[in-house]
C-alpha cells in the first residue's frame, strides 16, 4: 500500500564537535501509519527527532513535509508545519494548572483576555479521548506521571498536528500506565493520526507500529513493514556485526555433550607453587596476575613448552601434561600466544599457508602430501567462518590488520578442533570491532565444549568475559573471583589478598 508520504528525510547529518550523531540518515513516514524508529542508545534517534521538532539544526540534508522542502528555524516552525513532539523528559510546568500547561504560549484569547472556558471546552474532547479525567484547574504537579504524560500528549494533540513524535514516551511509566498510554495511541492510530514512535523497547514497537526503521551509528539501516520483521532481525540490525555489547553473554552449551575438564593438582614449575585448579568445558576461566605471577608459566606448562617440577595435571583425554608443543597440538590443546607476530604467524606467508600450520605441521596420519587444494579449502573455510577480511587465501599475513591476523592464529587451531584453548592476551592490539568478534569466538569455543583458559592484562576484559577469574600472586593462586568490579580485581592482583580476607589479623596483646 503505497500511501502518500508525509515526511521525507534525506541524508541528514549532524555532528557535535568531533562526534557524529547523524551520518546520512534517511526516513520516510507515510501518512496514517505508526512508524517506529528503533536503535541502541546513541544511534541517533533522539537527534533525528529533535531535528524534526526544530529544536536542533542539521548540518546538511533535506527534510520534506508533504512533498515540500522545509527548514525549521525553531520549534515553532515545526509546530506550524504540523509536527508535534512528546518529549522523553516531561516538559510541563508542575506549578501551573493542567489547562495552562495545555495552552502554553498559545492561550486562546479574546482581546487580550484569556478565556478559561473556551480552553476547557476545547480541551474537554481531547482529554476525554485520552481518558484523562482530572481536574483541569489542578496543578500538574499533583498528577501521576502517567497522567502527566497524557497531558503532554494532549497538549500536542490540541495543535492537531499532522505528525506526532513520541520520543520514548513511556520511559517514566509503570506497566499499567504504559498499557493505558498504548491504548490511547492505538485509538489515535485508528483515527488516522500519523505517529513517529521512538523506542528501544522492541516488544512495544512490535505491539504498536506499522512500519519500523532501524538506526545504527547515525544511519538508517533498514526500513520495513513490521509484519515482515522479527525481533531477532531487529536486534541484529540494531547491533550490527559490531555488537554494542562488547562482551557477549555465555551461549547455551551444546546439548548432549559431556562435561570435560582439566584438573590441576599441586602444580609447581617456574614461579608456580602448588597450584590447584579445575577448568571445565562451557566456561571461560580468566587468569589474572602481574608479570611473574605465574600466569604465563601455567599456560606454558599446559602447552608443554615448559616443564613442571611437581604436580599432576589431568587433561580431558585422561592423560597428563603434554611432553612438547607437538604433543599438545596432537592432543587438541591449543595456544594462542600473546605476541602473535612473533609467535603465531608466518608473516611473509599467505593466509593459506598459515592456516595449515597445525593441520599439516603437527598432525600425524593422513597423506604425506601437502596439496594446495585442501589447504585452500581450509583457508577459505576459516576466512568465511571467522569473517577474516582478506582478498583471498593467497593474501600475505602481514598485509592484514591486527585483528584479522589474530583470527588467523585462532583459525589455524579451529581447523583441528581442539579441546583445550589456552588464550594468552588474544585481543592485544586489535581494534574494538575485532575484539568483539574475538570475544564472541571465545564464547563459542566454550559453548562448543571447549575448555577455555583466558589470560589478559586488561581488567575490563577479564571482568566482562570470564565466568570466573583466578588470580595469581607470586606463583600461588590468591583466589577465585566472579562478578567483581575492576577495582576489586586490581586490588587482588596487586596484593594477593582476597577482599574477604582483608581484615586485619593482628591479635590484641
Amino acid at each position: 500500500m503505497p500511501g502518500d508520504i508525509l515526511i521525507e528525510v534525506r541524508e541528514l547529518t549532524k555532528r557535535y564537535g568531533g562526534v557524529v550523531a547523524l551520518a546520512d540518515m534517511n526516513l520516510t513516514v507515510e501518512r496514517g501509519t505508526v512508524h517506529a524508529v528503533v536503535g541502541e542508545n546513541g544511534a541517533g534517534k533522539s537527534t533525528l527527532m529533535k531535528i524534526l521538532a526544530g529544536a536542533v539544526h542539521p548540518d546538511s540534508g533535506t527534510i520534506k513535509v508533504g512533498g515540500e522542502t522545509v527548514a525549521f528555524d525553531s520549534p515553532n516552525d515545526a509546530r506550524k508545519r504540523g509536527i508535534g513532539i512528546v518529549y522523553q523528559e516531561l516538559s510541563l510546568f508542575p506549578e501551573r494548572s493542567v489547562l495552562a500547561n495545555l495552552y502554553v504560549n498559545r492561550e486562546p484569547a479574546a482581546f487580550g483576555i484569556v478565556s478559561t472556558r473556551k480552553m476547557e471546552a476545547e480541551s474537554r474532547d481531547i482529554l476525554d479521548r485520552l481518558g484523562l479525567h482530572v481536574e483541569v484547574d489542578a496543578p500538574v504537579g499533583r498528577l501521576s506521571i502517567g497522567e502527566r504524560q497524557l497531558v503532554e500528549l494532549a497538549r500536542v494533540l490540541l495543535e492537531e498536528p499532522q505528525l506526532i513524535i513520541l520520543d520514548e514516551p513511556n520511559s517514566a511509566l509503570n506497566e499499567r500506565e504504559t498499557q493505558r498510554l498504548f491504548a490511547v495511541l492505538r485509538q489515535l492510530s485508528a483515527r488516522g493520526h500519523t505517529m513517529l514512535y521512538v523506542s528501544h523497547r522492541l516488544e512495544e514497537v512490535f505491539a504498536i507500529s506499522d512500519r519500523v526503521t532501524i538506526t545504527r551509528n547515525g544511519r538508517d539501516v533498514l526500513t520495513r513493514d513490521r509484519a515482515d520483521l522479527t525481533i531477532p532481525e531487529v536486534i541484529e540490525g540494531m547491533i550490527g556485526a559490531q555488537q554494542d555489547a562488547l562482551f557477549p553473554p555465555p551461549l547455551p552449551a551444546v546439548a548432549g555433550r559431556a562435561e570435560e575438564r582439566i584438573v590441576i593438582k599441586g602444580l609447581s614449575g617456574g614461579p608456580l607453587k602448588d597450584v590447584d585448579l579445575t577448568a571445565r568445558s562451557g566456561e571461560v576461566v580468566g587468569l589474572a596476575g602481574l608479570e611473574g605471577s605465574g600466569v604465563s608459566a601455567l599456560l606454558a606448562i599446559l602447552f608443554g613448552t615448559q616443564k613442571a617440577r611437581a604436580g599432576k595435571v589431568t587433561f580431558p583425554d585422561d592423560r597428563g601434561l603434554p611432553r612438547s608443543p607437538t604433543d599438545a597440538a596432537r592432543r587438541g590443546v591449543c595456544l594462542v600466544p600473546a605476541d602473535r607476530r612473533r609467535n603465531g604467524l608466518m608473516l611473509e606467508k599467505s593466509i593459506l599457508f598459515n592456516i595449515s600450520q597445525v593441520f599439516v605441521g603437527a598432525q600425524t596420519g593422513g597423506s604425506w602430501l601437502y596439496r594446495n587444494g585442501p589447504a585452500f579449502a581450509r583457508a577459505q573455510r576459516q576466512i568465511d567462518n571467522l569473517k577474516i577480511k582478506a582478498r583471498s587465501p593467497w593474501t600475505l599475513a602481514n598485509q592484514l590488520s591486527g585483528g584479522n591476523q589474530q583470527k588467523i592464529v585462532i583459525g589455524k587451531w579451529l581447523e583441528v578442533g581442539p579441546k583445550v584453548f589456552l588464550l594468552d592476551d588474544p585481543t592485544r592490539g586489535v581494534d574494538v570491532g575485532a575484539k568483539r568478534e574475538i570475544y564472541g569466538l571465545i564464547r563459542k569455543m566454550s559453548s562448543d565444549g571447549g575448555i577455555v583458559l583466558f589470560s589478559s592484562t586488561e581488567l575490563p576484559e577479564l571482568v566482562g568475559l570470564c565466568d570466573r577469574i583466578v588470580v595469581f600472586y607470586q606463583g600461588r593462586i590468591a583466589g577465585e573471583l566472579s562478578g567483581v568490579d575492576d577495582h576489586t580485581l586490581l586490588h587482588v592482583i596487586n596484593t594477593g589478598e582476597m577482599p574477604a580476607a582483608a581484615e586485619r589479623s593482628e591479635a590484641t596483646p
Binding site: 613448552t305 611473509e348 606467508k349 599457508f353 597445525v358 601437502y370
Partner: protein
C-alpha cells in the same frame, strides 16, 4: 629479508598466473648462454651444453640439499667434506672388495650417517648448525684424510658395471650423472612444495617460534634436513667416484662456498622461509657457464674464481636493487624484522 612488507601482492584474483620466482635467474642463464653463443657459436653445441650440465652435477646435488637448509635458516659448512668422506668410504669399500653397487649405497648411507652426526650435535647441544658444521668441517676433513692416508683412493676396476653406468651417456649425449641430478632436483622440488615435510621446512624457516607453538618440532625438522643433506652429499660422493674412478684427498674442500653461492644466486634468501630448488640448479649452471664461457673466450681459467665472485655480488646486488626500487615505489622503508633473534 629487508622488504617484509613490500613483497608483491599476489595478483588480485588467482596466484597461479604469477610468474614463477625463478624466472629472473632462468632468463639470466639463457641470456648468458646466448651472448656467449653469439660470440662463439661453438658454445651452443648441445654436447657442450650437456657437458656443462654434467660438470655441475656433483656440486649441484649439494646445492639442492642446501636449499632445504637455507630454507630453515641454517647452513651446513661441512658438505664438502661429507661429500669427500663418503666418496672415500665408497672407494675403500670397493677396494675392500665390496660390490660397487652396494658400496655406492653404502656411501649414501654413510653420508646420511655423517648428516645424522651433524644433526644430533646440533639438536642435542642446541647449537646453530653453522657452528656445529664449522667444527665437523674439520673433523670430517681430518677423519677422511686419516682414513685415506692423505692419498687418492682408486677403486679396483674388476667389476665395471657401476662405473660404466654412472659415466654412461644415454643416446651417446645425455650423461647419466646429469640425468640423476635432474631427477633428484625435480624430486626435491616436489618434496619441498608438495609434501608435509616440505611444508614443515618452509614453516620452520618462516618463523621458528610460531612453528614450534603450532606443534611443528623445530628440532625434528632440523635433524631430518641435516640427515637429508648428508644423504645427498653421500649420493653425490658415491656417484663422483663412479664417474671419475678415483677420489682426490682434497676434492670437495672448496665446495661449500660454491654451493652456497649457487643457492643464493638462485634466489633462496639467507633469511629462510623460502627456497627454490630450480633456482639453485640454475644458479649452479650460471656459475658453470661462466667458467666454461671464459675458456671459450680464451681467458685464463684462473679468472673463473674472480668472475664467480663478481657474479655472486652482481646477481645479489641486482636483486637487492630491484627490491629497493619496489620498496621506493611503495614508498616504505621497512625495518629488518629478524634482527633480534638469538641462537
Amino acid at each position: 629479508m629487508t622488504d617484509t612488507g613490500t613483497a608483491p601482492e599476489p595478483s588480485a584474483s588467482r596466484r597461479r598466473f604469477r610468474m614463477p620466482e625463478e624466472t629472473g635467474v632462468i632468463i639470466a642463464l639463457v641470456l648468458m648462454i646466448l651472448i656467449i653463443g653469439i660470440a662463439r657459436p661453438r658454445f651452443l653445441n648441445p654436447i657442450n651444453l650437456l657437458t656443462i650440465l654434467s660438470h655441475t652435477t656433483f656440486q649441484g646435488m649439494l646445492a639442492v640439499g642446501m636449499v632445504y637448509l637455507l630454507a630453515i635458516r641454517e647452513i651446513d659448512l661441512s658438505v664438502g667434506w661429507i661429500f669427500n668422506f663418503s666418496a672415500v668410504f665408497t672407494g675403500l669399500l670397493m677396494v675392500a672388495g665390496v660390490d660397487p653397487w652396494i658400496a655406492a649405497f653404502g656411501g649414501v648411507a654413510f653420508g646420511a650417517l655423517l648428516g645424522l652426526f651433524n644433526g644430533i650435535l646440533s639438536v642435542g647441544l642446541r647449537l646453530p648448525a653453522i657452528i656445529v658444521t664449522l667444527g665437523t668441517y674439520s673433523m670430517f676433513q681430518g677423519l677422511s684424510l686419516v682414513v685415506n692416508n692423505g692419498r687418492a683412493v682408486v677403486p679396483p676396476d674388476q667389476d665395471t658395471s657401476y662405473f660404466n653406468a654412472v659415466a654412461a651417456k644415454i643416446f651417446g649425449i645425455v650423461p647419466v650423472a646429469a640425468l640423476v641430478f635432474v631427477v633428484l632436483a625435480i624430486v626435491m622440488h616436489f618434496v619441498l612444495h608438495r609434501t608435509k615435510f616440505g611444508y614443515r621446512v618452509q614453516a620452520v624457516g618462516s618463523n621458528p617460534e610460531a612453528a614450534e607453538l603450532a606443534g611443528i618440532s623445530n628440532a625434528t625438522i632440523k635433524l631430518q634436513t641435516l640427515v637429508l643433506m648428508g644423504a645427498i652429499c653421500g649420493l653425490s660422493g658415491a656417484m663422483y667416484i663412479g664417474f671419475r674412478g678415483a677420489i682426490d684427498p682434497n676434492e670437495g674442500s672448496d665446495f661449500v662456498l660454491v654451493v652456497v653461492a649457487a643457492v643464493i644466486i638462485g634466489g633462496t634468501p639467507l633469511s629462510g622461509g623460502y627456497g627454490t630448488v630450480i633456482g639453485a640448479v640454475v644458479g649452479m649452471m650460471i656459475i658453470q657457464v661462466i667458467s666454461s664461457g671464459l675458456i671459450f673466450f680464451g681467458i685464463d681459467a684462473t679468472w673463473s674464481t674472480f668472475v664467480t665472485g663478481a657474479v655472486i655480488v652482481l646477481a645479489v646486488s641486482l636483486d637487492q636493487l630491484i627490491k629497493f626500487q619496489r620498496a621506493r615505489r611503495a614508498n616504505r622503508v621497512k625495518l629488518e624484522q629478524d634482527s633480534a633473534t638469538e641462537p
